[in-house]
């Protein structure tokens, strides 16, 4: 599969009380066309910011460091002028958000909002745009698209609103769809339908999806590859079954163990001690060290390098590196 997206040395900083604070710290990863890559981590680890950085929509006063490189199909997005970047948004990269309830303009009917997404990038008559939007609503499973075109956001349920968001996102058949916690705010039954819709769209339109979530269940359903993030850095990357069944990084391991469904009945739930550190004062070396059960002397001094376990699985952890050195599998 051709390479779609190449992110290298991406850093995002915010002004803190004493100088600028790096919230996303030197992230690099690649995505193949048609692939579903999931960015997983607890809230506050910088995964949503990474997504926004790709769209160059980091809110003021945040800033994407100039050294960051984001190449989409060979085109370097960081060098684009503002109007050119605006054309990329919606046309080549689209995004859907976590809170459908407030993501749509409350004083405008949903139909025209999607029409606007079309007409920003294409010169088409309003009648033709309306027809395409109704066809889009059909495709994303919104019943009675003609009536729904005129209804206002407060007249739709959460699920329906998310479907409108998806329709809006895929209206220009973008190369990459970024889904920032698409199901978190929805109740379980609707979650499954949305996941089903995303999988179906990904397969029919060949759109690659960057799925931002902390819900490992959704990852299991949808993701091809997984990228674990902790405290602004990637700590482990690999295929879905590699990460979910054979996690090597202590944090991923701890995360999986604390899923209730996995614990036996009556047993205390496992949990990772300590709290996610605040960006104002990152711990030195490996940022998970203070909470890591297999902490070594070097972990607090040196930032672990990315170790290639095999062609598709890599991890950044001194303990793993040490155990490999001793020949353990």
């Amino acid at each position: 599969m051709a390479e779609l997206l190449q992110v290298s040395n991406l850093s995002v900083t915010f002004p803190g009380s004493s100088g600028r604070v790096t919230v996303v710290d030197d992230i690099s990863f690649t995505m193949q066309a048609g692939e579903v890559l999931s960015l997983v981590g607890e809230s506050g680890c910088g995964k949503s910011l990474t997504a926004l950085a790709i769209m160059r929509l980091v809110p003021k006063p945040g800033r994407i460091e100039t050294a960051s490189r984001i190449r989409l199909e060979g085109q370097e997005l960081m060098d684009l002028a503002v109007p050119d970047m605006r054309r990329v948004r919606g046309e080549q990269i689209a995004m859907i958000f976590q809170e459908p309830m407030s993501a749509l303009n409350p004083v405008q009917a949903v139909g025209p909002q999607v029409v606007e997404a079309l007409r920003l990038h294409e010169r088409i008559t309003s009648r033709e745009a309306r027809a395409r939007v109704e066809e889009l609503f059909e495709r994303v499973g919104i019943p009675d698209p003609r009536k729904r075109f005129e209804s206002y956001p407060h007249q739709l349920s959460g699920g329906l609103k998310q479907r409108v968001m998806i329709a809006m996102a895929v209206s220009m058949r973008p190369r990459l769809l970024i889904a920032d916690e698409p199901t978190t705010a929805l109740d379980v039954t609707v979650q499954a339908q949305i996941i089903e819709l995303l999988r179906e769209l990904q397969s029919t339109l060949g759109t690659s999806v960057l799925l931002i979530t902390h819900d490992l269940g959704v990852v299991n359903e949808l993701a091809d590859r997984v990228l674990m993030m902790y405290a602004g850095r990637t700590i482990e990357a690999g295929l879905r079954e590699q990460i979910l069944s054979r996690p090597r990084h202590p944090y991923t391991h701890g995360l999986l163990r604390s899923i209730p469904a996995r614990a036996a009945r009556g047993q205390r739930l496992a949990e990772i001690s300590g709290v996610v550190p605040s960006p104002e004062h990152w711990p030195s070396g490996c940022r998970f060290a203070p909470r890591c059960s297999e902490r070594l002397e070097v972990c607090t001094k040196q930032v672990p390098e990315s170790l290639e376990l095999d062609a598709t699985h890599s991890v950044c952890c001194h303990a793993v590196a040490a155990s490999l050195a001793e020949g353990a599998p």
Partner: protein, 662 residues
């Protein structure tokens, strides 16, 4: 914005008036009424004085004031008959007609109905007559209106001496109460039915006699005022305020040189030439000969007079300096630019302005409430000494320097300059400034250093004034500081108008400030302000100080009806010595009016007593247009600077916007 500014001009008048003989004046307050029998304020007389004409008028130039005939053919002498009555004989000038007005169709239908009244040859056959000749019947009608209680003329009591005057108003009142249908009829019919005033005796269409029960020389002065001007009964009947027609008080119809063509009380009053004025062939009255070459030709010289409403004095004066008003009083604020060392400043002289000074017959004074136990008569000798002490510290020269720019004649007695009985050499000892003597008097009055024995603290008095404007309060503070310098603590109580009246009515005040402008140039019109029967608390009269002194009253009674002879002068001097000692008033000043006249306005002679003589004024419109253009070049460069500055501020912002919104 730039385009607007460059096209702007501050000329408030339509351009086609530039070359016309139009006089522009400002007025602060619209008159309450223009009914000649009722209108009493200077702003009202400014209009009625030009629309109505009385039997007599004042000589425009002669000082002291001189009565000359107007509608009458001559100034009559008082003829006393054996039975003690006084008779004045008047002969009306023939051919005098009213200004054209719609109300005269009534006279056409009226005359056809009752043949008895004078038949009138219409100008052109068939057209309804728009005017009518003035006859003695009109004069009788205007006297009857003065007596009519419903008209409520404020000066009616001055004519009480005309035989049958009070009787007529009493008959009218009773008849109206008894007979409702009578009350509904138009006024002139009511007057005719009740039988007229006995003392107003019509000999024929052009001659009448006024018969008085007792001598009243001031009567002639009243005949030179709009109160007694002939009034057409048709106007009073026609303009009754119904069905959209204006009320008579807002629609004057007279015989004078001007006619009121526009009357918007909030913004604009316009007087235009009355074509029917004094058609009889006669050169302008001789007595204005000294006014220059145009004296011989036909009056009035001006086409139109526009009075525009200016509520604030400063902008009005500002526009006068820009040439948009043709004359203006000098406001206190700009006095020092206009007047240096008591004559025109160089800047003003160069502009060609002319200064006119005139002393208005009036007086401003501080008064004590003579009924008050502390400052009044009940305090006896202590009160008198206190009043004398307080009078000795009011420095009128300092007051005039601070607040009146040196204008105004210091007053020593109620009678103002220009009137009989005014003695320029008389110096009231208690109006000199003598702080030591004042302190001494206080000790004698039992208030050593101002301390009141009972309270052990400075004597506390109340000073009431209805004027809540801040400049008036500053003046009151000036007086208070003077009294505090000798230890008397005076508290200023500036209340709203109705609270002030309340206090005056029930005598709940100690000190107050008041003023009085003459109705007619006679000392009686000032000295009656201290005569006991006019006491404010007693009869609601203008004697606000409630001064009552038997000796003063007796002298007043003898003086008031005497002709201006030596005996009258003696009486006035005696009354002044009583006032000097008793100190009911602290006389302040007689107002002096400085006014500026624009270079293009000619024949202007300030008159005081508000008798505007617009008919003599003349204008050179071309000179005015030239000077206006010269004085009003707008300075436009700041507009461009402002625009440049705002662009300068915003541009860097736009630049950073695009750079940052990466």
């Amino acid at each position: 914005m730039l385009q607007v500014v460059s096209a702007c001009s501050n000329d408030p008048y339509p351009s086609d008036d530039q070359t016309r003989k139009v006089l522009y004046r400002a007025f602060p307050e619209a008159p309450k009424t223009l009914d000649p029998a009722v209108a009493y304020t200077t702003s009202a007389h400014a209009i009625t004085g030009n629309i109505y004409e009385g039997l007599l008028e004042y000589d425009y130039v002669a000082r002291p004031y001189q009565l000359v005939p107007a509608l009458a053919t001559g100034v009559p002498e008082a003829v006393s008959a054996p039975d003690g009555t006084i008779r004045y004989h008047f002969e009306l000038r023939p051919g005098v007609r009213y200004a054209d007005d719609a109300c005269f169709e009534l006279s056409e239908s009226e005359s056809s109905k009752s043949e008895s009244s004078h038949s009138e040859i219409p100008d052109s056959p068939g057209s309804t007559p728009t005017t009518r000749s003035v006859t003695t019947r009109d004069l009788e009608f205007s006297f009857q209106r003065l007596a009519d209680p419903a008209v409520a003329s404020p000066i009616a009591q001055n004519f009480a001496k005309i035989r049958g005057f009070r009787q007529f108003s009493a008959n009218l009142e009773q008849r109206r109460e008894r007979d409702a249908s009578f009350a509904a009829r138009p006024p002139h019919e009511q007057y005719a039915l009740v039988g007229g005033i006995e003392g107003v005796h019509l000999l024929n269409e052009l001659e009448l006699d006024l018969v008085l029960d007792a001598p009243y020389p001031q009567l002639l002065y009243w005949l030179a005022m709009p109160f007694t001007a002939p009034v057409p009964w048709e106007a009073v009947a026609y303009y009754d305020g119904e069905e959209g027609r204006p009320h008579f008080r807002d629609h004057p119809v007279g015989t004078g040189p001007f006619v009121l063509t526009r009357y918007n009380k909030q913004a604009l009053m316009v007087l235009e030439q009355n074509p029917r004025w004094r058609e009889w062939p006669q050169p302008a009255p001789g007595h204005i000969a000294p006014l220059g070459p145009r004296a011989g030709s036909r009056l009035p010289f001006i086409e139109r007079v526009e009075y525009r409403r200016e509520k604030e004095a400063i902008p009005a004066f500002g526009k006068f300096l820009q040439g948009y008003y043709d004359g203006s009083a000098i406001i206190e604020e700009s006095f020092d630019r206009v007047i240096q060392e008591d004559q025109l400043s160089s800047d003003m002289a160069e502009r060609g302005m002319r200064l006119e000074k005139s002393v208005e017959p009036g007086i401003y004074y501080l008064g004590f409430n003579m009924d008050d136990p502390v400052v009044g008569a009940p305090a006896g000798e202590r009160g008198r000494k206190l009043r004398q002490a307080m009078s000795l510290v009011i420095d009128i020269d300092e007051l005039s320097r601070l607040f009146l720019n040196g204008r105004g004649v210091p007053a020593n007695s109620p009678v103002p300059p220009g009137l009989f009985g005014y003695d320029p050499e008389y110096r009231n000892p208690y109006r000199e400034v003598d702080v030591e003597r004042a302190k001494q008097l206080l000790i004698e009055a039992g208030y050593p250093g101002g301390i009141d024995a009972e309270t052990g603290r400075p004597l506390k008095l109340g000073f009431d004034t209805p004027d809540t404007t801040s400049t008036a309060q500053l003046r009151s503070q000036f007086h208070i500081d003077a009294w505090r310098s000798i230890g008397i603590d005076v508290e200023l109580r500036a209340t709203t108008y109705n609270q002030f009246q309340e206090k005056m009515r029930n005598g709940a005040f100690q000190l107050f400030r008041w003023g009085w402008i003459a109705d007619y140039p006679d000392p009686e019109n000032f000295l009656f302000l201290l005569e006991s029967s006019n006491g404010r608390t007693r009869s609601g009269g203008p004697n606000t100080a409630n001064f009552s002194n038997a000796e003063y009253d007796a002298l007043f009674a003898e003086m008031k009806d005497r002709p201006n002879d030596e005996r009258r002068g003696e009486l006035i001097r005696e009354m002044q010595s009583i006032l000097e000692r008793e100190r009911p008033w602290i006389e302040l000043y007689h107002p002096e009016d400085y006014s500026l006249v624009s270079p293009w306005l000619e024949n202007v002679k300030p008159f005081g007593m508000s008798y505007p003589m617009l008919k003599y004024y003349d204008i050179d419109p071309d000179e005015r247009a030239r000077l206006r253009a010269e004085w009003n070049q707008p300075i436009v460069w700041p507009a461009y600077a402002l625009a440049g500055l705002s662009v300068l501020i915003v541009v860097p912002g736009i630049f950073t916007f695009f750079r940052e919104r990466v």
